[in-house]
């Protein structure tokens, strides 16, 4: 089992495999995202309270989910890289950051857009949006720290420490922000949470989630291949690769 693991962690091997699986991830994610879009915009029934406005859920919820999923993957990869000194893991963490940050931004933007017709303002300090905002800060800090080092090894390891400290903080942040919002008993219940949801409305959500996950797989494969090449400065296997 360990030989398989070691083989996987070998950059040339990973480079090859990622190159082979990326197209599968890519096309399947495209298909599912398009299917989910059509289903969510056309086939799913309108919500009792929010009408057709609730359809934003189908892009907002998957983005929010992916933003958090990516951060955890990033932190785990960073921890693996730090503890076992596996360069590939550091490369994976680096590849996650821009993907996660853009999902976070998307979650914030779609959440804000959704909020306007529902609550009347472009921004509300509700628990979920505020937590997403703080998550965006964590991503930006991680990327800024990485960029500030000239030495790539130092950049890898320093940002790994930051990612681990950050991931420990994420549940604390979530809890504190939730606690903070419940204190003030908002007049309107968070409609973002649960439109009167029926199964027929959930299906496009699941399809979109799956599509986004597969998209993550594609994006990570492509970025990781780039990171591997950047890190393997003078290795002989590069000759075969090109």
């Amino acid at each position: 089992m360990w030989t398989w693991f070691h083989k996987l962690a070998s950059p040339p091997h990973a480079y090859r495999i990622l190159g082979r699986i990326a197209p599968w991830f890519g096309w399947s994610s495209l298909a599912l995202i398009l299917l989910a879009t059509w289903w969510g915009l056309v086939r799913a029934p309108a919500d009792y309270q929010q009408g057709d406005g609730f359809r934003i859920l189908y892009v907002h919820a998957p983005s929010a989910w992916m933003s958090m999923f990516t951060y955890v993957v990033m932190a785990v990869a960073a921890a693996v890289g730090l503890v076992w000194r596996i360069k590939l893991a550091h490369a994976a963490a680096a590849a996650c950051a821009p993907i996660g940050a853009s999902f976070t931004f998307l979650a914030l933007a779609t959440g804000s857009i959704w909020g306007k017709p529902m609550w009347g303002t472009w921004w509300v300090w509700d628990a979920r949006l505020t937590s997403e905002l703080l998550l965006l800060f964590l991503y930006l800090g991680y990327m800024a720290l990485r960029a500030s080092f000239d030495d790539p090894q130092r950049a890898d390891r320093a940002s790994a420490v930051l990612a681990i400290v950050g991931v420990i903080n994420v549940p604390i942040i979530h809890y504190s922000v939730e606690w903070w919002t419940t204190l003030h008993q908002p007049a309107s219940v968070t409609k973002l949470d649960k439109p009167s949801i029926q199964i027929a409305m959930l299906i496009p959500l699941f399809i979109m989630m799956a599509g986004f996950q597969l998209y993550f797989g594609w994006a990570i494969s492509r970025r990781l291949r780039g990171e591997i090449l950047r890190r393997e400065r003078n290795a002989g296997w590069l000759k075969e690769a090109s």
Binding site: G141, L145, A158, L162, G166, I173
Partner: protein, 228 residues
Amino acid sequence: MIRTPIREAAKLVFTRDLTLAWRRWDEVAQPLIFYVVVTTMFPLATTPDMSALREISGGVVWVAALLASLLALEALFRADVEDGTMEQWVLSGQPLGWLLLAKVAAHWVLTGLPLVVMSPIVGTGLGLPYDAWGVLMLSLLLGTGTLSVLGGIGAALTVGVRRGSVLLSLLVLPLAMPLLIFGARAVGMQMDGDSPAGPLQLLAAIFFMALSLGPIAMSAAIRISVEN
């Protein structure tokens, strides 16, 4: 090889930092002055009406304390890394976490503690009532202590980076948001007549967690910054 017991080594570090700072007291005064200046900005920017200011007094004092603490944090490890002392510590075989914690403790005594002591005064300027002083100071005691540890991690990560102070703030502030939430709310609840026990206990829990896990992260970060 004669090895100094870590307790003594840590105490040496602690007293050395305090002594060094005593000779440069103006550096210690700067964050404190910043603290007062920033809290003065809020009434100027909003309203001189005390009853309105009272509403946000706890929050403003807390924000100003966080910012003032951050200002002072950048220099925490810089001097020792630059002159090679830190490298000696890493090589010394002593438990690095304890030495770093001693430094952070000295730093807190020089920056965090004065902020805590000054807080009732600046708070009063914002309409904070006398019966909230205790909660304000206790929450800031725990909060600035935690921030010193978090800031220590950030400072250790950014010690080699040029103009690292803004980066340091960017890294530490999001992590400090829960402190701000619980600390400011504790003061607010006390002013409203509710018991601040809940948030204070959470602040204490976070503080002890930072105290126990922080040194591990700090020594990992220092090793990364110092090793070649």
